[in-house]
Amino acid sequence: MDGPQRHRILMVSDFFYPNFGGVESHIYYLSQCLIKLGHKVVVTTHAYGNRSGVRYMTGGLKVYYIPWRPFLMQNTLPTFYGTLPIIRTILIRERISVVHGHQAFSTLCHEALMHARTMGYKAVFTDHSLYRFADVGSIHMNKVLQFTLADIDQAICVSHTSKENTVLRSGIDPEKVFVIPNAVDTAMFTPAPKRLCYDEIVIVVISRLVYRKGADLLVEVIPEVCRLNPNVRFVIGGDGLKRVRLEEMREKYSLQDRVEMLGAVPHAQVRSVLVSGHIFLNSSLTEAFCIAILEAASCGLLTVSTRVGGVPEVLPDDMIVLAEPTPVDMTRAIKEAIEMLPNINPQAMHDRVKKLYSWQDVAKRTEVVYDRALLCSDVSLLQRLPRYLKCGPWAGKLFCLVMMINFLLWQLLQFWQPSKSIEEVPDILILENEDNEICGKLRMP
């Protein structure tokens, strides 16, 4: 037996450090764990402000900030073929074997996957969010997703509900979609060293205060809960358009001493805010997989959440209380959680989350997906084009045309800038020798 195959992975997305978020931390943690397993990972994203060019992060993770400016909500301008030269250069330089794109909303991801398939590389796609079907923006985005997934090798979704949503949106074969959830860095999110006393119950809310995250539900629920339970206090971290409504609610019901608004909480301080509370409240109206709930559970808080999307799959029933997204049911759920509190042991909860979720496990399962992707046979352009014709009577032909032009441009580039003239990068392995010293070892191709 040869031993496990060493993959050379290119992660592509518009969303990466220095931005903070679910997709960004997913890419970072997954890359770090894959490097620890012995694979080579390179990340490609667009330039953030002055941060352009090649940067190295922890563990030798190489990040290409390609010099394209974002134009709308951190997305690069979609030019279809403009990114072909640079993606080709990166793929040849780093001798990539698998291209892994993240997030359906990222234009760079779709373009990179299109170029990767044209040039014959294996492609994997991860979808991180749930989307609708019926409004104009969603219809167009689903069509783009259908184009990308028509010729993808494997796809990954972060929850079973997300898998159903992705399969319906894109028409991909369900056997091609793997369900690998996110995880949480339990070393960073540890419970408070001393257990809090239960005289005053503190309910923590940390989210962006926007419509999608259920800030309007909070406005209805908080006064009711404060009225019914005199010993409850709220701590709200986060900022957004609905913050004004929450401040108004505070004024209207005179809850200034019982509702504390912290404003935007930097990522490094999220843990200290979480461990100051007993219960974590999540009122989102839609979530594919809520990492915030995992972070709260890792810190030993009992979670109360709305039953939407993939949330029921995230935690076992004794660590979360679910409610319908109505004020009445959420008040009932909070009351139930307060009664459950004395039986909760934060340290035991943290240990359980450590066993249930780990990024190493996610990386091992993703490795299986890469192995499966590499087993897919190589197909020529003529064999790939019929896959696009299935997308629709008009769209299918348009997509075929787009891919044919991409192929021709690639041939032109191969003639103009041959692969032999692109210098290949030697691998640098970060090793620890017996004295636990970190040293780098150069490995020539």
Binding site: F133, V158, E164, F178, V179, L285, F289, V308, E313, P325
Partner: protein, 301 residues
Amino acid sequence: MESEAKKSSGKHKWRKVAYGGMQPGYDDNYTDDSFLEGMVMNANVVKRDLFKVMLDSVSISQYLCIAALVVIVWIQTLHSVIDEISLLSLDAGLLGLGFLIILLTTSQLSFHLFLHYLMKISFFISGLYILAPVYHTLTRSISSDSIWALSVSLLLIHLFLHDFSGYTIRPPGAKNNPTLASNISLNASIIASVLIASRLPSRLHVFALMLFSLQVFLFAPLVTFCIKKYSFWLHLWFSFILMSMTLSIIFVMHRMLFVLLLALIVFISIVCPYWLIQIQEYKFEINGPWDEAKLCFEITE
């Protein structure tokens, strides 16, 4: 042997959960039989009846005929067939007729409200009379071709974006706000009236035609809505009379336009409902646990 039998009988049952890592005995791409069992298709779709859709399309043909009548009056005034005195008497007649219809069909019109309306209308008429000289010289430097082209396009925009089910000018106390599209259509019709009126010879002409056009565009939807609400049969009779009147006037004026209008009315009343019902069978509305939750309460700012 025993342990093997135990293993096969104690096979872990697949659960729809994300925690606990890979479920033993199942790959990550395992698709259970319960896949997509929460999906609901076409939950809110209403099955339509051909005859009812045809009756509903009468509102559209009716408004089309009203717009055609306005255009006929414009053309006749521009060709000096109708003089300003008859225009003014037409305005007064339409105003009286409109008020009568609203009085008869709406039961709750108090005397106070009637006086309120009367005051508003007199302000409107006096304002228009004062501004008539401005409109008279407004487009003097613009060529006639641009005016006709602009008016035609504006009228088309007005017809496309018009709200056929309601009315944009709300009486006081109405609850729903008009939509953006109906506001745009109303503005387009007003601009078209101003452009056409500015081509007329005298200020009195301008005033009379502007008053006529604005009366029709602003208040005709309200009047037709009141008629429809009062009695559906009255609405059908009114539309039928209106359509025949329009068609007969155009028949006298111009044969080809008559054929065009007739074809358009037939298309709207018969072909479109049939087509709508035929393509309804392609409707595919998907709902499921992945939907964004709808709030059950109103957000009061």
